[in-house]
Amino acid sequence: MHAFVEPLMVLLVLVNLGLLSVRRMAWCIRLAGVQGALLGLAILALAPGAEPEPHVWYLAAAVLAIKALAFPMFLRRTMRTLHLRAWVEPYIGYGLSLLAGLAALLFSLWLGSRLAIPGLHLPPLLFPAAFTAFFGGLTMLVSRKKALTQVVGFLAMENGIFLFGAPTLAWGSTWMELAVLLDVLVAVFVMGIVVHRIDRTFDSIDVGLFCSLRD
């Protein structure tokens, strides 16, 4: 499985950059799903030993089910029921977002260069891939107007963190990762509910409208 790690990481980075540059909501959600799927695969690929242990399989399955299937479905349904317009509506243009993604990549590489542990052989691209996802998600949170895109950004961020934590599975207990996953699941659902509320109250999910609370 280890052979797949490198291409997977490259793919993840590409998906990330894609997330930052797509213009259609549907694609945005789809790419988030793809990211989730790649994450599930990455967990399998990163598992130590020739054949992954059963608990890694379970976790990968759970990740695939939740991140690759449940979230995109849920988000798409939300999009449909809210009759959203198809565009992402950025604060910061796509080109700039992409640049920000590249900057995130560079910062991740720098971070990776500062953080090295003797004896710990992480896949060479793990660090940039995870942190690009993380910072890319944050960039989405910052640069997109729609509440739903912010949820996607949050998901991308979480995916990055999850990816970063994947190698620790080799030594750790799975139940903790499952609990984290569950928490994120609930979080996304709560956010989804609130997005519905926002739409009903404001007739829009443009968070740019959210500026009545300030000093």
Partner: protein, 658 residues
């Protein structure tokens, strides 16, 4: 010690019972508790003073910092006197003055009054820095509630706010000072602090912090700004207590810190002297310009605080220059002035309260001719005025004389800068004396003499018995302290020696000299009252049997004189105010009559506080302005909020890993 504790318990119990009980008992429990407690406390203090006993006591303490250590020493005993003395007079006055106020307000009023008295007493006896701070803050907070008694008025609320802010900012300086010193000592006990202070490389920051914190409470310029606001706003017996007793806490603090920090460099004395002089002169320059009696008296408190600090500074300078007798004289003068000031300022504030009650206002421009309508108040007020103007043979003269003598001896004994500082202090004190006379002539002369300027002043009347008794008590104190001055010097000598770090023997000798000197002074001052009485009798004798007519005042032939044409407060102050220039802070608002058919014309004169207007208001305004302009940070946009988190993260990571 037991007696003292009983007094404290009585005071607090009275206040708390008053808070709980209803009806007449609820009204009376507070003031009676304070009166009884203060009486008991006074007895305890006088007994300890007479026996020269200085007991100490440590009580159980429930906090991990500090300890509940109490103790007496000469300084403590001295500063307990104004607290308990005015604790006898002010509630007595308040009993009468608040008789018709709503019950709920009165009960809480006496509760906070009891906290104030007890807090003040605890400040004086505390022997632990933390315990001191606790008592200090309780003492500082309660006047806020007392000042805001009539909180339905905007100016009262503003004054209370000013007081609260000033006192709290002062406390912060004190917290810093004690925490710093305690950090070096490893304990907050005064003994430990006194032990640790000499080991410190620098004690001057501590001294400056203490000066800021205590000076703000004492009314030392330029930190005096709360006084002229709070005193007019508070009920008069509260102003009297605050002015006579509360601000002595600040003086006590400085004296105590001089004891704790050990003999400091000479410039401390110079600084104290300079600030004292500044307070004395600024207080008078501004006080002279005031048209409101209580504000004028408040500025006079600033002046007197200045005199006390001037004395302390001179004592410090002289002691560092090896002039023990001069140091003792100045220190004893300063300490005696604390007691004197409590008496006459208490008396004058109560008198102002009686005017407020009798005539409905203390705006001098609305008063006049009160001596005929409030003869008792008038006579007592005049006594207070004479005492405050330091006229012999009243008490104020003797304390100022001691300070003058200390300054003079220091001026002759010290060299160069020290000598000039002492002489300068003397000249300044002389100027202050002249200005004080003018200000007081204005306060008494324009309010009590002449013709009433308004109908309200025509209907003025003396207050009730309780109020008069309270004033009489203080007036007798003023006269008695004057006569007892020679003996008081020896009583004060231990405390003075403590403040100036004088060896016991030198202090004792100097005190003995001072006593015999003051006896001579007393004798030399006696011709004034004796001759005065003789001449008074002579005058009556000469006029008896001769034609004595009465007619309106000679007005140089003016056709229709009116009472409002009398010299008013602004016109009286004008020559001095224009001589003093901007220091008096007088502002004219003049609209001249214009045109053939002039409309309204007016001339309003006000004298707002200079420091408040020039320093504190702009500073607070600038802070507010900056805060308003920082508020865009909370703009309401989520993306930017997340960005700020991201920025924080990147910044921290970059700092951590770089």
């Amino acid at each position: 010690m037991e007696l003292f504790l009983c007094a404290l318990v009585l005071i607090l119990a009275g206040g708390s019972l008053g808070l709980v009980l209803r009806g007449r008992t609820g009204r009376l429990a507070g003031p009676l508790g304070i009166l009884a407690g203060s009486g008991l406390g006074l007895v305890a203090v006088l007994r300890l003073l007479a026996r020269q006993e200085y007991p100490r006591l440590d009580l159980a303490w429930g906090l991990p910092v500090g300890s509940f250590s109490l103790g007496f020493d000469p300084l403590t005993l001295l500063f307990l006197l104004p607290c308990f003395g005015l604790g006898l007079a002010c509630p007595l006055y308040g009993l009468g003055a608040l008789a018709h106020e709503p019950e709920r307000k009165v009960r809480s009023h006496w509760f906070f009054f009891s906290l104030l008295v007890a807090g003040l007493a605890l400040v004086a006896v505390a022997r632990d820095g933390f315990c001191f701070l606790l008592a200090w803050e309780v003492m500082s907070l309660s006047p806020f509630f007392l000042v805001s008694f009539a909180d339905e008025k905007l100016e009262v609320r503003e004054a209370a706010w000013t007081y609260l802010v000033a006192s709290h900012l002062g406390v912060l300086a004190l917290v810093a000072m004690f925490a710093w010193l305690a950090g070096a000592a490893g304990s907050t006990h005064f003994d430990a602090l006194a032990w640790a202070a000499p080991q410190l490389a620098h004690t001057w920051p501590l001294f400056l912090l203490a000066l800021a914190g205590f000076g703000a409470k004492a009314g030392l310029a330029p930190l005096h700004v709360w006084l002229p606001e709070a005193h007019p706003a508070a009920p008069s017996h509260v102003s009297a207590f605050m002015s006579g007793a509360l601000i002595t806490a600040g003086m006590y603090g400085v004296a105590r810190i001089l004891v704790l920090l050990g003999p400091g460099p000479a410039w401390w004395g110079g600084l104290l002297l300079g600030l004292g002089l500044l307070s004395a002169l600024l207080g008078l320059a501004q006080g002279l310009a005031q048209g409101q009696m209580k504000r004028l008296l408040a500025y006079s408190s600033v002046e007197n605080a200045g005199i006390v600090f001037l004395g302390l500074g001179a004592a410090h300078l002289a002691a560092r220059g090896g002039l023990a007798p001069a140091a003792l004289l100045a220190a004893a003068g300063a300490l005696l002035h604390v007691l004197n000031h409590a008496l006459f300022k208490g008396l004058l504030f109560l008198g102002a309260g009686a005017v407020l009650h009798g005539a409905g206002t203390v705006e001098i421009s609305s008063l006049g001719g009160l001596l005929k309508r409030m003869p008792r108040t008038g006579a007592l007020f005049l006594a207070g005025t004479a005492a405050l103007a330091a006229l012999p043979p009243f008490n104020g003269f003797f304390s100022e004389l001691l300070i003058y003598l200390g300054l003079g001896q220091a001026g002759m004994g010290l060299r160069s800068a020290g000598s000039l500082a002492a002489w300068g202090g003397m000249a300044g004190l002389a100027l202050a004396g002249g200005l004080a006379l003018a200000a007081l002539a204005k306060a008494f002369g324009l309010a009590f003499l002449g013709e009433p300027r308004t109908p309200a002043a025509t209907r003025a009347h003396d207050p009730g018995r309780a109020e008069l008794a309270a004033m009489l008590l203080l007036a007798l104190g003023c006269a008695g302290m004057g006569l007892a001055a020679p003996w008081l010097v020896t009583v004060l000598a231990p405390a003075a020696a403590q403040v100036a770090h004088l060896p016991g023997m030198a202090a004792l000798d100097a005190a003995r000299d001072a006593q015999s000197l003051l006896r001579t002074v007393l004798v030399a001052a006696l011709p004034l009252p004796v001759l005065g009485l003789f001449l008074w009798a002579l005058r009556r004798r000469l006029l008896a049997g001769r034609p004595v007519g009465s007619s309106p005042t000679w007005d140089c032939g003016y056709a229709r004189p009116a009472a409002t044409m009398q010299y008013g407060p602004a016109s009286f102050a004008d020559p001095l105010a224009s001589a003093l220039g901007p220091a008096s802070g007088i502002q004219h608002d003049l609209a001249r009559p214009q045109g053939l058919f002039p409309r309204r014309a007016w001339h309003r004169v006000a004298a707002p506080d200079l420091v408040l207007d020039a320093v504190f208001r702009p500073a607070f305004g600038a802070a507010l302005w900056a805060a308003e302009h920082l508020k865009w940070l909370q703009h309401g946009r989520i993306p930017l909020y997340v960005l700020s988190i991201l920025a924080a993260l990147v910044a921290v990571l970059a700092w951590v890993l770089a």
